[in-house]
Subunit: 165 residues, 2 copies
DNA sequence: CGGAATCCGCCACGATACTG
DNA sequence: CAGTATCGTGGCGGATTCCG
């Protein structure tokens, strides 16, 4: 078994809490979290993207993804299958053959995710710029803080030695 | 410091690897992963949703989210700020006041995410149904497997005792 | 080939305490 | 009020081994 639905407790306990927040993260936020956790985990997105092109076997996926372990591929596929996003077809041949494919639901999800991908591609530069700006500011601030701290300590030391001497 | 950009190593090391996969997860997959990791972490989405309504102070966010720790709120806000999704405004008053607001970039991201929220709301029933169906099948399969295993062991035991007797 | 079971390292997250 | 610093922990993800 290992783990269940991963719960994500906290703000998602009951259905009729009266949050100020929009509406969707009080009522459906729970669900959004679940599918978000699903597609955001390390491999699901990649698997969905690959299966959107064509149906694939376990080993084909394993080869194509490069870096994934058998365990994580199996886990990812189980999760996606459980949510009805991926279908699993077993051919009772020797050696055994298992095909994975996106369900219609999975296809629509992938289409929806594409919006996010498009947004990211369109704004990569802005994000990168924001990051370097932030890092630069942070570095400056940190230097200033350190300088002030050193100054303060120096004064404190002077005062102490002065008082003692 | 604590941690950096969280890397996500593996398939995201260089820009000119020749994957078969679509295009976007070879070229921009790296970036998609980053913003996905950002919005998919436990609190970012909630923070973005709240700030999309109106600008909020640190404590207002803390009160409104209910369950978040100061540390995680601070971390989340810094991450969002670093990516240029949230702006931080300090008023040098006593007591100090800090306002957080979505940047234009953050607003467009939130709009994009709404598509995912809408999809989730529209398909919650299907997902739930798929899950119960999967769990039921799994339970049946597991029972069958256990039954077969017990049968096999019984036969093995018979054979062994028969050979020995 | 297509998994499941087991062990383990590491990091995100949380609780607590302290600072400006 | 708005954070940072420190410590402890659960769970994700990887490596390995075994099964049908």
């Amino acid at each position: 078994m290992e783990d269940g639905t991963s719960e994500t407790p906290g703000y998602c306990s009951d259905t009729d809490t009266g949050y100020d927040v929009s509406q969707w993260d009080a009522r459906a936020g729970c669900e959004v979290r679940q599918i978000l956790d699903r597609i955001a985990d390390k491999w699901s997105l990649l698997v969905i993207a690959l299966l959107d092109r064509r149906s694939l076997r376990f080993t084909e996926l394993r080869r194509e993804i490069d870096g994934i372990s058998q365990r994580m591929l199996a886990r990812t596929l189980r999760h996606l299958e459980r949510d009805g996003l991926v279908s699993r077809t077993v051919y009772p041949s020797v050696p055994p053959r298992v095909d994975y494919a996106l369900t219609p639901l999975g296809v629509t999800l992938h289409a929806t995710i594409q919006a996010l991908v498009t947004w990211t591609e369109a704004n990569t530069d802005q994000i990168a710029a924001a990051r370097v700006a932030y890092d630069r500011r942070e570095a400056v601030d940190r230097l200033d803080a350190d300088r002030r701290a050193a100054e303060r300590d120096a004064i404190a030391h002077e005062v102490l030695t002065g008082a003692r001497g």
